[in-house]
Symmetry: C2
Subunit: 161 residues, 2 copies
């Protein structure tokens, strides 16, 4: 029982336009929402591929104060005929299906479905913007949740490491 060769194959042409996301990114962000105290966080994002028509995505954040883990999420980027697709699972018991578009190195997707387990908080809508300029990645996540209207929740800046 041997795992497959870890050498990286060529990027699948279906996701070539998303290749600018590939890599390991590290940085900091800040979060706010009407129902919580504002907070700052450290973050690492990893995006990689295995030669198939998707990019794998994981992210984790931690407290800048004591390094304790805060959030994490995992999912996959895909292309559809008309745009970009993103599916994500959250340790908060929520899954997210996003669709949108890419222009150059600027992505914007909005949720077409957000579904949770019976113990999860109610999230109604998520909008994600990702911009890569050189070795800088910035993103914003807006969210409508727990009865609050859609509004900015997270913004962060990371660099490719």
């Amino acid at each position: 029982m041997t795992p497959p060769d870890a050498s990286t194959p060529e990027l699948h042409p279906d996701v070539a336009e998303l290749g600018f996301l590939l890599g390991t990114w590290a940085g900091q962000g800040e979060g706010r929402y009407p129902t919580i105290a504002p907070f700052a966080y450290g973050e690492e994002i990893r995006v990689w591929h295995v030669g198939k028509p998707f990019l794998a995505y994981v992210q984790r954040t931690w407290s800048l104060g004591d390094g304790r883990p805060l959030h994490g999420e995992a999912g996959y980027w895909r292309r559809s005929s008309g745009g970009v697709e993103l599916v994500i699972a959250h340790p908060t018991g929520i899954v997210e299906v996003d669709e949108g578009g890419v222009e150059g190195t600027h992505l914007m997707v909005s949720s077409t479905a957000v579904v949770g387990t019976s113990s999860a908080k109610a999230v109604a809508q998520v909008v994600r913007q990702v911009d890569v300029e050189g070795s800088d990645l910035t993103y914003r996540v807006s969210m409508a949740a727990v009865g609050q209207p859609l509004q900015e929740h997270l913004r962060a800046r990371l660099v490719r490491v």
Copy 2:
């Protein structure tokens, strides 16, 4: 920008009953479905925790013939007051929310929601059974998809490595 200390904290008591899933597992499985040719696969499953009330889960499979990657999925196990929850994102553009129960080291969950992107195949229902006996993990995944009724799709046996 330093990531948090990688030392493993204590398992959160909310997921203590799922602790038997922790570890790296490797083995083989076989798949079948009326719409495809039967196939065999190698597989690695990793389940870990960061001290928070969930277990992180990733899985990947590969062709036993040439080692090329076949499938992968990523998600999180949680406990609710009444049972077990599992959220998963698939590179096929599908997300899955499962709920069920645990008895000893035997888990069974069934999807309460399966949602896909506009380019994803239609999956209507997923049922997962996981059994751990000592260092052996066996699972079965049943699925209703692409117009077919619920039926066994995957079965595999792995050992803790």
